[in-house]
Amino acid sequence: MNWESIFSVSLESIIGSTTIAYALAAIGLNVHFGYTGLLNFGQSAFLGVGAYGIAITVSTFDLPLALGIAIGLAASVILALLLGIPTLRLRADYLAIVTIAAAEIIRLLYRATDLRKWTGASDGLQGFSQDFYALNPYGTGAGVNIADIITFSPRDLWILTVGWALVLLSCLVVWLLMKSPWGRVLKAIREDEDAVRSLGKNVFSYKMQSLVLGGVIGCLGGFVFALDRAAVQPDTYGTEFTFFAYTIVILGGAARVFGPVIGASIFWVLLVFIDSTLSEMSNNKVLPEWFMNTTQAGSVRYILVGLGLVLLLIYRPQGIFGDKREVMLDVR
């Protein structure tokens, strides 16, 4: 058992790039679900269009990265509009089904062999992140090394800097918007849509703006995710991604500005710790083979997240920082 490496990866994931991507996904989802009460089950699609936006632009068409970022952002706005138009006038669970269906459609299109020359099908795309790392101001030095436990290369430091800047910027935007009159309307829609409508507000338009805002923030997460890995792969953006993000939002506390960020850190530290401990145990035959092999160790994280989501919602729906009165959503 290599405890040093287990602790090292667990501690690194407090601020690691996966945490950043999920934090951004969760901040966007928090705008939808926490503040507006929209059940978006397709957040993975927003990250997917961001990631594939830059990958296809740079890798397939050989255009500059900045254009890729613009295309990714535009695609996420268009996606939000496409999802919102048929469903935002309907009851909440219709949005849930349509968003999850749309996310699957998009993932299946990335996978389609007929589109291989653009999307790389199930192999995905690589080689689009050079321009981003060329901007790295940390050079090629040693990076950060704290007692040999926490190590970040200059490449890691650069993506962490950009990622956390995006997280803080998103939090600032959400915080400013939610204490503005616009944000109060969103929260009022969550509490009682009909009351808001009777005050003369255009509920559909507010919901749409919320969907776009949260989608764009999610798309930023997609950029971080793709640039960190320097590759995109269609199955990364499956339904599990969205449900992990839901667990993070509920863990941290819905309708709290920093809830998703702290939720993401705690979620990934726990998950990485359990995951790497189990895989170390099964690799080193600490656990008997009939009880848990390496494949089975990989499925435990999903079982735990599922159970965690169920237990959180039953026993502590407000999560760590939330207010119980704010999360008693209902659609009927």
Partner: protein
């Protein structure tokens, strides 16, 4: 360190079945037709001077292997007369000349297509079967559509009734479908009972699980007055946990039952259908008709519809609402298990088979009108036919896309579904 997290899990499941032969140079392969193994196909290998070096017959998993004397180039012939009727080598190359390196277990791929069996969802990358004639192709698509819509309808009826009586959109219903297929696998393959008996036991266990779920969990949540959105997200958590518990115990491979594999099709008019599919169709139709009749004719059925209409009023008129809901869960669990067994007979057992059709079930239910039993049946028929006929124009790996896109378009124009009522949507 965290990279490759999903991809790695996904990748590690796909392989593992192909590399288990003894050392020494071997030609080997697995014959599948749209995901279902093809057994009893003769394959012969010849050395370059034309001398036979061995032959093999594919087993129940579609696997074959021929040990060869040493490295070199060999000619491998697939005997097309031993293929099930309607099945062909889709690239038209039944004879290949692969080179075998020293110590290599060389995989030889014969892409097969056609016939009545076929994967309906998921990631079958097989090219579309080469059409014997346009008319036969339309007939095959029509039959596959009907067959698939019966599978969806069994599960959709349960979801729709549960939604009607409790208001819950149950995302964990796909796992009930998988559960039925897995239970039948347990009794059929692990224990060794005949498939028919295993299927019956699986349906009984599925129904019991439905009852128990409501008794122990969903009913308890209703008593705690957990609101519907929270319950819906809880069902997602349940779905995620249960799906990966299946993976933990069953593994990531797709496996077949011990009987009725790769059954050759029988020609009935323009259709070529494997008898097993006709039998399962008959069972599904009988069950669907029986349940629909029971909903209309019996007192319990009327009570069920009353609860779906207005639970408070039903309770006031002396109907035991909790009992009805439990009955609906029991029925839903049993129907889902039956749907799973039929789906598995059609395209093998895998841990996420139910989840893969869940969205199509939702599409059927939404299309027909949420909470209406007839709507679920009608919606399933439309989705089943649509999904198969769409492969006439688009690649078959995108057929799920077409059905889901249709769902979104329908919501634009008739959000309450075909038979739904306006009041349910607003």
């Amino acid at each position: 360190m965290l990279t490759a997290f999903l991809a790695c899990v996904m990748l590690s499941f796909g392989f593992g079945a192909t590399s288990a032969w003894a050392a020494g140079e071997t030609l080997q392969g697995t014959l599948t037709n749209n995901g279902a193994p093809v057994a009893d196909v003769k394959i012969k290998a010849f050395s370059q001077d034309g001398a036979s070096v061995g032959e093999a017959t594919s087993d129940a998993q579609g696997k074959w292997s021929i040990p060869v004397p040493g490295p070199g180039t060999y000619k491998v012939d697939l005997d097309q007369s031993t293929l099930p009727s309607g099945v062909t080598v889709t690239n038209g190359r039944p004879s290949l000349t692969p080179a075998v390196a020293e110590g290599q277990q060389r995989n030889v791929l014969f892409p097969l297509g056609g016939g009545a069996g076929g994967a309906t969802t998921g990631n079958s990358n097989q090219p579309a079967p080469s059409a014997p004639s346009e008319w036969n192709r339309v007939a095959d698509l029509f039959y596959a559509g009907i067959h698939f819509s019966l599978i969806i309808a069994l599960a959709a009826l349960g979801i729709s009734l549960i939604f009607g009586t409790t208001g819950l959109t149950n995302f964990a219903h796909g796992e009930l479908v998988t559960f039925g297929a897995l239970m039948a696998f347990l009794f059929n393959v692990t224990i060794g009972l005949p498939l028919v008996l295993s299927g019956l036991i699986a349906v009984a266990i599925g129904a019991a699980t439905g009852w128990f779920q409501d008794r122990a969990f969903w009913g308890w949540l209703r008593k705690r007055r957990t609101n519907l959105v929270t319950t819906m997200i809880i069902s997602i958590g349940v779905s995620l946990a249960v799906r990966y518990i299946f993976l933990y115990f069953f593994g990531g491979d797709s496996r077949a039952y011990s009987e009725y594999n790769a059954q050759p099709g029988v020609e009935i008019g323009p259709f070529t259908i494997a008898p097993k599919n006709l039998v399962t169709d008959a069972i599904a139709i009988v069950v669907l008709v029986a349940v629909s009749m029971a909903l209309v004719m019996t007192r319990l059925g009327k009570a069920t519809r009353a609860v779906a209409d207005n639970p408070a009023l039903a309770a006031a008129s002396g109907i035991n609402v909790d009992r009805i809901i439990r009955l609906v869960w029991t029925l839903g669990g049993g129907l889902a298990a039956l749907s799973g067994v039929i789906l598995a007979v059609y395209q093998n057992v895998s841990y996420q088979m139910g989840f893969q059709i869940l969205l199509l079930i939702f599409a059927a239910v939404t299309l027909g009108g949420f909470g209406t039993a007839w709507g679920a049946l009608l919606g399933s028929l439309v989705i089943g036919l649509f999904i198969q006929f769409s492969t006439y124009w688009i690649p078959s790996e995108l057929k799920t896309v077409s059905a889901l896109a249709a769902l979104i378009v329908i919501l634009l124009f008739r959000p309450q579904g075909i038979l739904g009522r306006r009041q349910r949507i607003g």
